[in-house]
């Protein structure tokens, strides 16, 4: 079976994560022929174009440029099954946070306004240098998850997907090889991370909101109850609670639980529980607990802003 692996708007971590399989990767290589993997070997676009057909594509990264858009469409045409790998491919990921601004704002900020830039210049799709015409892919106005550009068959969330999720994906690949077409399309739990979280809870509302640098988090107790915003309650489990075990709160890289309307707004619902003792405060100060959150969108849509339904109201 021929497998294509590609990266779009991505940090490269997803490609590296495949190595988290350890020695099991050898089994994968035994079963599958990787025909295209530009991160690992020197493949070029023409190699992909020249491919007659492949079976499965594992694509990480979101679509940020016209080149990436073209690339993923090309891949889609070549394969039977397309797997969106990693949070960027599934929901837009970190690059998706760019959707708070349009393309011009971002380019201007990056190439002109940054304090370290002198005489900045915004890169153009076409530049003439002497008689030569140099071209660059167009920087699109919005970051798109793969399924906004092409049809996606399976989603493997995570930033990057954890080893156990990747193993699940290998299982999926083997099933696909056997000609099965599993119905479960998201390779994560339908329960939230809380379901598998090892921390204990006292079932109390967070007394306040603590920014991560403000307290030393108790390693045993629910983050949220310590006032540290942890988004495990709205995030699919399946990651093995790896951040939690490293004493870091969940930021939601596995995406929203299936029945949630929208990641960010559902997250807000419970974050707003934080704060006690408002009865003792003057009315104007009763909401000040949440002022501790300096970048609401950055927090609640850390990995999924392009999927925000709140954003759709615009």
């Amino acid at each position: 079976m021929k497998v294509v692996i590609d990266w779009l708007a991505s940090c490269g971590g997803c490609d590296v994560s495949i190595l988290d399989l350890g020695v099991k990767i050898l089994d994968v290589i035994k079963e599958f022929e990787i025909v295209y993997w530009p991160v690992a070997l020197d493949f070029k676009k023409k190699d992909l174009e020249s491919l007659d057909k492949a079976d499965i594509a594992i694509v990480n990264g979101a679509v940020r440029t016209s080149e990436q858009e073209e690339q993923v469409k090309l891949i889609r045409d070549k394969v039977d099954v397309l797997i969106a790998y990693g949070s960027c491919a599934c929901f837009g990921g970190i690059p998706g946070l760019g959707n708070q601004f349009d393309a011009n704002e971002i380019l201007k900020r990056a190439y002109v306004e940054t304090p370290s830039t002198t005489e900045g210049k915004i890169p153009q799709p076409v530049t003439k240098l002497n008689d030569t015409e140099l071209t660059l892919p167009k920087f699109l106005d919005k970051v798109k998850p793969l399924d906004e550009v092409v049809e996606v068959d399976y989603y493997v969330p995570g930033c990057p997907p954890s080893a156990s999720t990747i193993e699940e994906m290998v299982e999926l690949l083997l099933k696909l090889k056997r000609g099965e077409k599993p119905e479960k399309r998201v390779l994560a739990s339908d329960k939230s991370l809380c379901y598998e979280c090892p921390r204990f809870k006292s079932l109390v509302r967070p007394p306040t909101i603590n920014r991560p640098h403000e307290i030393v988090a108790d390693q045993e107790r629910c983050f949220l109850e310590q006032g540290i915003v942890c988004l495990g309650f709205v995030t699919r489990g399946g990651c093995g609670a790896r951040c939690i075990k490293a004493n870091m709160p969940c930021r939601g890289c596995y995406g929203k639980v299936p029945n949630a309307v929208d990641f960010g707004t559902e997250a807000i619902t419970a974050i707003a529980m934080a704060g006690t003792g408002e009865d003792y405060l003057p009315p104007m100060r009763t909401t000040e607990t949440v002022d501790k959150i300096k970048d609401v969108v950055g927090l609640i849509y850390h990995f999924c802003l392009p999927k925000s339904k709140l954003g759709d109201l615009k």
Partner: protein, 764 residues
Amino acid sequence: MSVGVIICTCGNTLSERIDIDRLIELAEGLEDVSIVKKVDLFCEEYEEVVREMKGKVDRLLFVGCSERSSLKMNEDKIAQILEKIGLNRAMFEVANIREQCAWVHEDRDGATRKALDQLMMAYVKLRSNRPTGEAVKLEKRVLVVGGGVAGMQCAIDLAKAGIDVVLVEKNPYLGGHTAQIPLLFQCEGWSSMCTSECIVPVIARETVFNDKITIITNAEVKEVEKVNGNFSVTIEQKPQFVDPNKCVSCGKCAEVCPIEVPNEFDMKFGKRKAIDKDFALAIPDTYNIADEYCNRCGECLKVCPTNAINLDAKPSIYNYKFGAVVIATGFQGYDLSKIAELNYAHPDVVTSLEFERLLTKGFKRPSDGKTPESLVFVLCSGSRSENGNGVPYCSKICCSVIMKLANRIATLFPETEITVIYKDIRTPGKLEDFYKMVERKGVEFVKGEVDEIADGNGKLKVTVFKEDGGEEEIEADMVVLAEALIPAGVQLLKKFGVVTDKFGFPIEFQPRIINPNETYVDRVFVVGTAKGPGIVQESVESGSAVAMRIAEMLKDGEKRLQKFVSYVNKDLCSKCGICASMCPHDAIRIKEDGAEVDSAFCRGCGLCMSVCPNHAIQLINFEDKQLLDQVEVAFKHAKEGEPRILALLCYWCSYAAADLMGVKGLKLPANFRSIRIRCSSSVNAGTLLEILKKVDGVLIAGCPPKNCHHGWGNYVSAKRIKLMNEAMKQLGINPDKLRWEYIGVAMWGPLAKAIKEMTERLRP
């Protein structure tokens, strides 16, 4: 399904503002509507009207006045009417075309359009209403924790009403602090007192003689579990070394007992034997062994004439189920050793309660047994503290207590120089006469605060920062501190899931003015000084009052469930527990297979539902889908071009304010619709988002600060909207589309203003 629609014209007054015929026409064309009845005065004619519908409809849609605010036909009355024709009391909805339509809109066309939408909104919701669940069986047994006067009075009155009571007391005797205070206030117009040596035995005898009251002394509540609407409580009683049924209180055991120990009843001023009675009149009338001091010498066994003593007794564990609980755990004095300047460690510095006990042994100072020639009382010792050293509240009774004590010394030992150091004198109500009397007896009053109580040559030197800025040094042979009073049963309240203020006093269920003594947990009451400082007579009053409430609640041995009760779809539940931490009524438990709501404890506020990210928990008759169904039809008849403003108004405060806009004659454009939601925090932000997609603006309003019926619902909602607004701004969405307001019943003006402002700002 068969829907009966009743459209009332309110004596034809509504017809002037609304085209009622169009409403009838709309209603008649609706699926499953079998009867549409126009009436002029439903409140007068309902008996005939519903008789006609009996057996023909299974739910009722009432189009007329507000089910919240109408003075003639509110939701409770409609529920009663439903039951009269054999329908479940949840199977109705109201389209409030009077207060929130005819009365607030002048434009007949606009009002008619709105009324049509209101009818549709009520109709779509009614279609998916569900009958209330089966009544939950309640144990006709009540747990009273605390055998002071409040607990005893409550137990007596419950028993008289035919209810079994288990009274748990941690001491070996009943009477609590009251038994330690020799003279008790009586609230007359003059200074009047009665002795606890009469009062306590009278009330305690009545308690122990009542067959319906089981008294467990020397005991405490170990575990509490809420099971099917009842409380399953484990009580542990310390070993009963002396059998109270055999002991005749002859005292022979104490005579031979070689071990003398401090008597806690007398605070630090008395001794008892390891086997003894705490005080002569203690009830139950039995001796007891202070286990931690007894050396098991066995001398007492030899002399006991009735063989009442068993030194090998073991603790007993009792488990009972209760339908209701009364917390009567009283107060304790603030630990004055935390306030360094008061020098409480000094033997001649005592609290007022200690002084009460000291006086029973004679007016002699503890250090050397001499009768003090000078005595200083310090009021507000720990109360009304502004620096966190103590409590910020007034302990309410201490001024009066000190006046009583000062008067006693001034009368019996007129030579004593008495000084009272005070911030303010607060002898409220009829107790003022105690203050006047002390003033007349020449007691000196110094207004200020104690800076230091120093030990100097057998005298205490009390330095006072006076209010006028000066400093005064007062010499005293003895100092009495009026200690702040704090609750004693904080841990117990936690076991029952009761919400307390930051000092540990339970917060009473809002509106607390009409729900006194009721906590946020259904059928858990608090009486006496466990609720807050008060005098003995008030404690007895509250005990009686609560007994009456409970007797009514348990009279049928069951609790009928409310129209709104939450339930969990366990397939969707991830056991995150957020619902349970949000529940102000402690009605949710996280079980192995998911969250579980105990319906009999659920107050139907919807706070749980609003925080569930996966929508696993829903409120019957207020489900996400029902809300969205209503939104779907809310503006079907609205005029084009006007912004569609939807007001989500909390069940009690804000919805009533909207009704009062009509009652008070305010006029508004007819482009807004309202939905009476449960608590302002009952709508999940995800659902809110779906609503926002269908309208131009959403206003959410909830009770004003400090007044939410569900503890923190209004604050959470306010914070939620603030975060949503912030995110909207960041995403370039007009935040005016979503607005939060604290709206109390009397804030119809600000509510109207908010609706008008939104209309202006969102006009396309």
